[in-house]
């Protein structure tokens, strides 16, 4: 009951409702469009702000605390694409390029899903470690390397170095890590100065952003039939398994209940910004209909609506000794 209430609260938050509005706008063939520039501006804001906030939080914690979570994130980032590839290739009988491409997406992470998870925890009053945003940056990259290496090993060709540079110097890593470092250097007091721009309006900006995300996801809906039942199931089941794994690992390395929830959210999320760009450059024979539709039109909506509250419920359940 408690979980259901929280689920309902999540579904009725302005953020999730805006996402749904975006879906409807597209289905109704509305002429509502966000200019690309607005989309870029909103994403710059969100990534930089989440970095700033995390950095300010980290500035009061000791660097040693970060070690274990960092290692665990890297391990998750390396492991996830491996089993995803195996499942897609041998269970799903997909071509090498497509299997590797999708593995990259599910191994990497979605910053917006993370942000939605963080906003959810804040709203229901659950604390988490300040360094969590640093893990977003850490988990974005390894899966891309692993997935592309698999493809290279199976197919030959591909330019791993170029796509590594593209991810590491890509705008999401630069803004997130840059924001973190600025938050760290300026400290909580320094970040306080820019609170009315970067922190207070954060949820509102996220709402507007999710409106656009809803439209983008819905534009992919017509590809849903093309991707087939296997990928649909994959896009719904893998997040839950990865979520469970995330909570379990989080507990293992001593994260708080909230921190474990966010690690679960990260593991469960699939990238749709950094990964698609890297894959399109380095693995162009993979069909974007598969990886983008799965990540953007299946897994993202699932995580945003049901996943986040679910992972938190799992975390709560595990942390409170398996009793609901």
């Amino acid at each position: 009951m408690h979980t259901l209430e929280l689920l309902q609260a999540n579904l009725l938050s302005p953020m999730v409702l805006a996402f749904v509005l975006g879906i409807f706008a597209t289905i109704l063939r509305s002429d509502l469009r966000f200019p690309d520039e607005l989309y870029t501006a909103l994403s710059v804001f969100l990534l930089f702000a989440i970095g700033l906030k995390g950095g300010a939080a980290m500035s009061v914690s000791s660097p040693g605390e970060l070690l274990l979570p960092a290692l665990a994130s890297l391990a998750l980032g390396v492991g996830t694409p491996l089993w995803c590839y195996a499942i897609l290739r041998y269970l799903g009988r997909m071509e090498v390029a497509n299997a590797a491409a999708i593995a990259v997406h599910y191994g990497s992470v979605s910053a917006v899903t993370f942000i939605a998870g963080q906003t959810y925890l804040e709203k229901i009053g659950v604390k988490f470690e300040g360094f969590m945003p640093a893990l977003v940056a850490l988990m974005e990259v390894p899966a891309i390397v692993v997935g592309l290496l698999i493809a290279k090993w199976q197919l030959g060709g591909g330019n791993l170095k170029q796509s590594l540079h593209e991810v590491l110097a890509g705008k999401s890593v630069v803004l997130l890590v840059g924001g973190l470092l600025i938050g760290l250097a300026a400290g909580a007091h320094g970040v306080e100065q820019v609170r009315p721009f970067f922190l207070d309006p954060f949820k509102g900006v996220l709402t507007l952003f999710l409106l656009e995300m809803g439209m983008a996801a819905a534009r992919r809906f017509r590809d849903l039939s093309r991707v087939g039942a296997f990928l649909l199931a994959f896009g719904l089941v893998m997040p839950v398994l990865h979520g469970l794994l995330g909570v379990w690992v989080g507990r293992l390395i001593g994260l708080s209940e909230g921190g474990a929830t966010l690690l679960a959210v990260l593991s469960a999320s699939a990238s749709y910004i950094a990964a698609p760009a890297a894959v399109r450059i380095s693995l162009p024979q993979a069909n974007p209909s598969f990886y983008l539709t799965a990540s953007l039109a299946i897994t993202f909506p699932f995580n945003l609506t049901v996943g986040v509250p679910l992972y938190h419920a799992l975390s709560e359940w595990i942390y409170r000794g398996g009793t609901p």
């Binding site: 690309d36 989309y39 992919r220 910004i273 698609p276 399109r280 974007p288 209909s289 983008l292």
Partner: protein, 100 residues
């Protein structure tokens, strides 16, 4: 006014090839290019443009030899796997030496 005959190569590509194509054009002998943002539809059903930006439309005025080289390069490197369209036209320019 004396005009010189040259080729105008127009290329429409998905945004992900941005940096690459700029480098390619100069390396293949173009002395310059102009790029505008565009969107569009084509025969391939592949769209990565949802969140990563749309198409880019490049145009470059070049000699016949460079035009040939650019088209061959596109055909080999990008036509098989990327959303790319390219076409060539005759143009007349004022200062022909600027482009070769």
């Amino acid at each position: 006014m004396k005009l010189h005959p040259l080729k105008l190569v127009t290329i429409v590509v998905e945004a992900v090839l941005d940096t690459r194509l700029r480098q390619d054009l100069l390396r293949l002998g173009a002395k310059g290019y102009t790029c505008t943002k565009a969107d569009g539809e084509g025969s391939r059903g592949m769209r990565t443009d949802d969140l990563a930006g749309k198409n880019l439309r490049f145009e470059t005025v070049v000699s016949d030899a460079v035009a040939e080289r650019i088209l061959t390069h596109l055909a080999e490197q990008y036509f098989p796997n990327y959303a790319v369209v390219a076409y060539v036209q005759d143009v007349s320019v004022v200062r022909g030496d600027k482009y070769v």
